[in-house]
C-alpha cells in the first residue's frame, strides 16, 4: 500500500497543505485531521465581518465538502490526535483509530493565552480564536452593553471597533504603554488608537486586569492593577497565543517556543514537518528563528512543504505579510520589524494614508501601511529583493516605492 501524508490540524495551514499536495500531483492518501467539527474555515473574518453579520458561517468555509471528496482528501473533523508513534510512523486518534504516514505535517496552530486570575472562568469572559468562540461572542454582543477588552493587539482592537459599531461601551486594557507594541511602530499605533478614541473607545494603558468579578456566574466587573473597577458584562481577552506544541513535545521532537524546524520546515524528525502558527523557523532576514501567526505564513509554508514532498525542495524564504481591518482603516504590514529598527514616516498621517518604513542597518526590514495598498504591495517586492535603502530615500516621497520595486 502507498503510505500517505497525514496532516494534524485543519486550519488555514493544514487545509492548504492538503490542497497543495493534490495540486502537486501527490499520488498517495492525504488525511487531514482537525479537532474542530465541520469544514475547515478561515479565521480572520471572525473578529471582523462575522461579528457584524456581513460574513456568514458558510462564507467562512475554505472549500465546500465536495472539494475534499473530489480530491481524495480524507477529512477527519472533530477528531483529536492523541499521540504520534515515530518508530511505527502512526498517529493515534481519540476515537481509537490509527493512521499510518510516510510523512506527517504538524499544523496544530496556537491557543489563546488566558490570564490566570480570579474570575477568568466566569460566563462572559472569553478569547476569540475559533468559530465556536466567535459564535458565542456574536450571541453575547447582542445582549451586552459594556465590553472590556484585555489586550490592545490586532484581535482586541478589531473587536473593539465592531463593538462600538454595535453600540456597546468599550474599555480596552493594555499592560504596555501603547497599543500593538510588539507588532507595529509607534506612529501607526498612535494613528489607529486615535481612530478608535474618536469612535468612543476608552483606552487604559500600562494597565492590566487583576480579577474579574461576577454575579451568579456571569462577569460584571473588571478589577485593574491600578485598583479601578470597570463595569462589564462581556470581556474579550486578546492577550496573544501559545503555540500548540504539546503533541510534538510528547513525541520527543525539538520544541522551543514552538516546534523547531529547519529551513526546509522539517522538524528534528525528517519524516515530520511543522508549519504555520506552531512552527519556529529560521528566516533569512532575522537573526533569531521566528514564529509567525498569519494566514500568509500558514499558506506559504504549507505550499513549501507540499512542493518538497513532490520533489521540489527549496528553503522557505517568503516575505511575511499581515493585515488588520479596523473600521474604515486598513493596516497592511510587509516584513517583520524589530523594536530597535528605525521608523521613517512617509505620506499623509492627517489624511489617513501613510506608511512607516522600518530600516535595519540600511536595509528595509518592514513596511507598515495605513490605507496605502500600493506601498504595501511594492514593499513585498522590495523585501523579496532585499533592497538597501538610505534613510533619505525612505523619507523622500517623490521617490516612489512602486517604481523602485518595478526596477
Amino acid at each position: 500500500m502507498h503510505e500517505g501524508v497525514v496532516i494534524v490540524g485543519s486550519g488555514q495551514g493544514g487545509f492548504q497543505a492538503a490542497a497543495s499536495l493534490r495540486e502537486e500531483g501527490h499520488p498517495g492518501p492525504v488525511t487531514l485531521i482537525g479537532e474542530e467539527p465541520g469544514l475547515p474555515y478561515q479565521r480572520p473574518p471572525l473578529s471582523k465581518g462575522f461579528l457584524l453579520g456581513k460574513t456568514t458561517a458558510q462564507q467562512l468555509e475554505l472549500r465546500p465538502a465536495a472539494f475534499y471528496a473530489e480530491r481524495g482528501i480524507e477529512l477527519l473533523a472533530g477528531e483529536r490526535v492523541m499521540a504520534i508513534d515515530r518508530a511505527a510512523r502512526t498517529v493515534r486518534l481519540a476515537s481509537g483509530a490509527m493512521r499510518a504516514y510516510a510523512h506527517l505535517v504538524l499544523a496544530t496552530g496556537a491557543r489563546p493565552r488566558m490570564p490566570r486570575i480570579p474570575g477568568v472562568d466566569l460566563a462572559g469572559v472569553q478569547a476569540l480564536r475559533t468559530g465556536a468562540d466567535a459564535r458565542g461572542l456574536l450571541q453575547r454582543l447582542g445582549a451586552a452593553r459594556r465590553l472590556v477588552v484585555v489586550g490592545a493587539g490586532f484581535i482586541g482592537l478589531e473587536v473593539a471597533v465592531v463593538a462600538r459599531e454595535l453600540g456597546l461601551e468599550v474599555d480596552v486594557l493594555e499592560f504596555a504603554e501603547r497599543a500593538m507594541l510588539r507588532s507595529v511602530s509607534a506612529p501607526v499605533a498612535a494613528y489607529l488608537t486615535d481612530a478608535l478614541v474618536k469612535r468612543g473607545v476608552r483606552f487604559h494603558f500600562s494597565t492590566g486586569a487583576e480579577a474579574f468579578g461576577g454575579e451568579q456566574g456571569q462577569v460584571r466587573t473588571v478589577l485593574t492593577n491600578r485598583g479601578d473597577t470597570l463595569a462589564a458584562d462581556l470581556v474579550v481577552v486578546g492577550a496573544g497565543v501559545e503555540p500548540d506544541d504539546l503533541l510534538a513535545r510528547e513525541a520527543g521532537l525539538r520544541v522551543q517556543g514552538g516546534i523547531v524546524v529547519d529551513a526546509a520546515l522539517l522538524t528534528s524528525d525528517p519524516a515530520i514537518s511543522a508549519i504555520g502558527d506552531c512552527a519556529r523557523f529560521p528566516a533569512p532576514y532575522s537573526a533569531q528563528p521566528l514564529r509567525l501567526e498569519s494566514v500568509q505564513n500558514a499558506v506559504d509554508q504549507a505550499r513549501c512543504v507540499a512542493a518538497r514532498l513532490a520533489g521540489k525542495s527549496a528553503p522557505y524564504d517568503k516575505v511575511p505579510w499581515f493585515w488588520s481591518d479596523q473600521g474604515e482603516n486598513r493596516l497592511q504590514i510587509a516584513g517583520v520589524a524589530e523594536a530597535a529598527d528605525e521608523a521613517v514616516l512617509r505620506g499623509d498621517v492627517a489624511g489617513g494614508k501613510f506608511s512607516v518604513l522600518r530600516l535595519r542597518g540600511g536595509r528595509l526590514a518592514a513596511v507598515e501601511s495605513i490605507n496605502s495598498a500600493a506601498d504595501h504591495m511594492a514593499a513585498r517586492k522590495l523585501l523579496a529583493a532585499r533592497v538597501t535603502l538610505t534613510r533619505e530615500q525612505a523619507a523622500d516621497t517623490s521617490f516612489k516605492l512602486a517604481s523602485l520595486a518595478a526596477a
Partner: protein, 107 residues
Amino acid sequence: MPKITYVQPDGERRSIPVDAGATVMLTAVANGVPGIVAECGGAAMCATCHVYLDEDSQEVVPPVSEVENEMLESAASGRRNNSRLGCQIAMPPGVDEIVVHIPSHQV
C-alpha cells in the same frame, strides 16, 4: 437564473447559476473553480482572485475602487484594462451573465 461564467486560460468554460449579490470570488471558491486562490478570503488584501472581465461584463459592474486599483497594480499576472479582483465584483441585480477570464497564475 443569472450566472457567472469562468473561462480558464486553456479556454474551458464553466457557468455557475447565482443569485444577485454573489461575488465572483466566493462563487468560484464554493464551486471549486480552479485558478481563484483568494488567500485573504475577500478582504482585498492579497490580489489572488484576479480576473479579466469580459468586454460586455465591464459595463454592468461598478467601477474599480481606490483600494482595488492599488492592489491590482501588483497582481501576479499582468494588469490589463479589464483587470478586477473577483472578491470586489458582485452580481448586479437584473444582469443575466458575467463572464470572467482567469489569469495563468495568481501567486
